[in-house]
Amino acid sequence: MMLQLDNVTKVYKVGAFGGKTFAAVDGVSFDVRSGEVVSLIGESGSGKSTIGKMILGLTSITAGSITVDGVPVKAAKEYYRHVQGVFQDPFSCYNPVFKADRVFQLIKESYYPQVSAAEWDGRVRSAIEDVRLDPGQVLGRYPHQLSGGQLQRLLIARALLLDIKLLVADEITSMLDASTRIDVLNLLAELKERGLGVLYVTHDLSLGNYLAERTVVLRNGTVVEMGLTDKVFGDPLHPYTRKLLAAVPRLNAPWEDAEPTDTCHYHAGGASGALFEADAGHFVACARFDGCPR
């Protein structure tokens, strides 16, 4: 078990002088093992990115703990040697005034200052080839001269230059065209085969389903359902999960017009409380599974 989230909570202060608080993530616990893709699914604002950022040390954790191989998150060089992230918008990940390969340069400056330029160049090229790009085509170019897919893959190559164990991929495909999107997804799948743990954040259920061993469904900062992907998608227990699934447009099947009728209090946010194991490896936070009188 390499990434472990234990009752993680993130409270943002909003309003002038932090007059009000707002819990973007509320008591979330799950884990990601080596060689596994866990997808984190939820609608906009459900707190997916916030969890990603906390894991990456880009934002503080209000309560609970996040550990990687038992080591708590720390926004320090050593931590980033093993934990890296790739973000949603490939264009905004590159400083537009510099050439795209500067992202590699930054890694070298921080982690491998002693490596010779030539050797480094070799490493970069092989990493780029690993993500199935042609180094000749992408090196020495400005970000706007490259496509989104290329940029996104360069970012993964950048992470590969380090000795990473965990990759947080936050909606890395939502800005990409369908045709390039699948290449990036396949790449993530390969990483997993190499033994990396991947946390794949998305709001596109079909993509999560395509890739992940396990799925965590998030709503208003709390986990409503989680478990093996097959089970969550095959037998969604929580009404919210069902509603989400029903809304996904499928190519060959019409929209399921039937909205879930048995709506309960799920819309009341985290009120539904604790997770119950409804099935082996399939947890749900729903009153129906808690001997609720209804």
């Binding site: 002088f17 950022k53 990456l56 880009l58 926004a75 320090a76 060089k77 980033y80 890296q84 992230g85 973000f87 949603q88 918008d89 905004s92 990940c93 590159y94 400083n95 537009p96 005034v97 510099f98 050439k99 992202v103 930054l106 890694i107 400056e109 921080s110 982690y111 400005y142 970000p143 706007h144 001269q145 970012l155």
Partner: protein
């Protein structure tokens, strides 16, 4: 009075291709060329002029007081027979120095405050913001008057320092706003994931992205410093040694140039200031147009 009042956060991120495009528009932008052209000519006159002028001391008394412009005295002479042209040339120099120093100091403070507040956010931001607002609301000329009157430090660098210390707030606010929007860009997060320190991120990731903006800001601070300095000079809080365009105006006024019909005494210094500041402002619009496609006339 600036073109960069808080403009809606513009897309400051200019890519290299955009840079090339910017250059393309820069050399075709009339405002930019005329603006910088005039400013540069005056700069040359101010710094190369003294080398070719024979008058060593622009304040030296001459033999022909109060004479109108002539071949001998291009801009005429003062009540004391001082050559107005020499004074003008030396005055330009001082004016540029005040502008550069004052503008520079203000820019440095503005950047320090703006970047820190914008990048750090949170409490640091609240405090710096409060501080900025305070300095912004206090009428700085009045403070300058008070401090200057009491301290009586009357040299060009001291004057520039005062100006620099008080004229930065609007720029800090603008930088803060820009930094705020840049800070959320993913490349900043990525730089952190690459182990860069905060300072480094500000200097190497954020600042380069706003270089055009910073440059424009400096120009405005530069012009502003010149105007403030001329006001101070005029009120009699200028440097006591040497000459500046503001001092020339003050002298002309004190020695009744207007009433005595010595227009050649008070016209050039004011025109010089107007020309420098105006040229810089015009160049600034030019730059704005170059960097901001929206402003270009299509």
């Amino acid at each position: 009075m600036t073109a960069i009042q808080e403009t809606p956060a513009q897309d400051v991120a200019a890519g290299a291709g955009v840079r090339r495009e910017a250059l393309y528009f820069a050399v075709r932008n009339g405002k930019l060329l005329v603006g910088f052209g005039i400013a540069f000519l005056l700069f040359l006159l101010g710094f190369a002029g003294p080398l070719v002028l024979d008058a060593v001391d622009p304040n030296a008394y001459g033999t022909k007081p109060m004479s109108p412009p002539s071949g001998e005295h291009w801009f005429g002479t003062t009540t004391f027979g001082q050559d107005v042209f020499s004074q003008f040339v030396y005055g330009l120099q001082t004016t540029f120095i005040v502008g550069a120093l004052g503008g520079g100091i203000a820019a440095v403070i503005a950047m320090a405050v703006g970047f820190t507040a914008g990048y750090r956010g949170g409490l640091v931001d609240e405090i710096l913001n409060m501080f900025t607002n305070i300095v912004l609301v206090i009428p700085t000329l009045a403070v300058l008057l008070i401090i200057n009157a009491y301290l009586g430090v009357r040299s060009v660098p001291a004057q520039a320092l005062f100006i620099g210390l008080t004229s930065w707030p609007w720029a800090a606010r603008a930088i803060r706003a820009q930094t705020f929007s840049l800070r959320t860009r993913d490349f900043v997060a990525l730089a952190r994931l690459s182990g860069s320190s905060t300072r480094r991120i500000i200097m190497r990731e954020i600042a380069p992205n706003m270089s055009s903006y910073l440059f424009m800001m400096f120009i405005l601070l530069f012009g502003g410093s010149i105007l403030i300095a001329s006001s101070l000079d005029f009120i009699g809080l200028g440097p006591t040694e040497g000459i500046s365009l503001g001092l020339m105006l003050q002298n002309a006024n004190q020695w009744s140039a207007m009433q005595l019909g010595m227009w050649w005494w008070f016209l050039p210094p004011g025109a010089g200031i107007t020309a420098i500041v105006g040229a810089l402002y015009v160049a600034n619009v030019g730059l704005d147009e170059v960097f901001n496609p929206k402003l270009r006339e299509t």
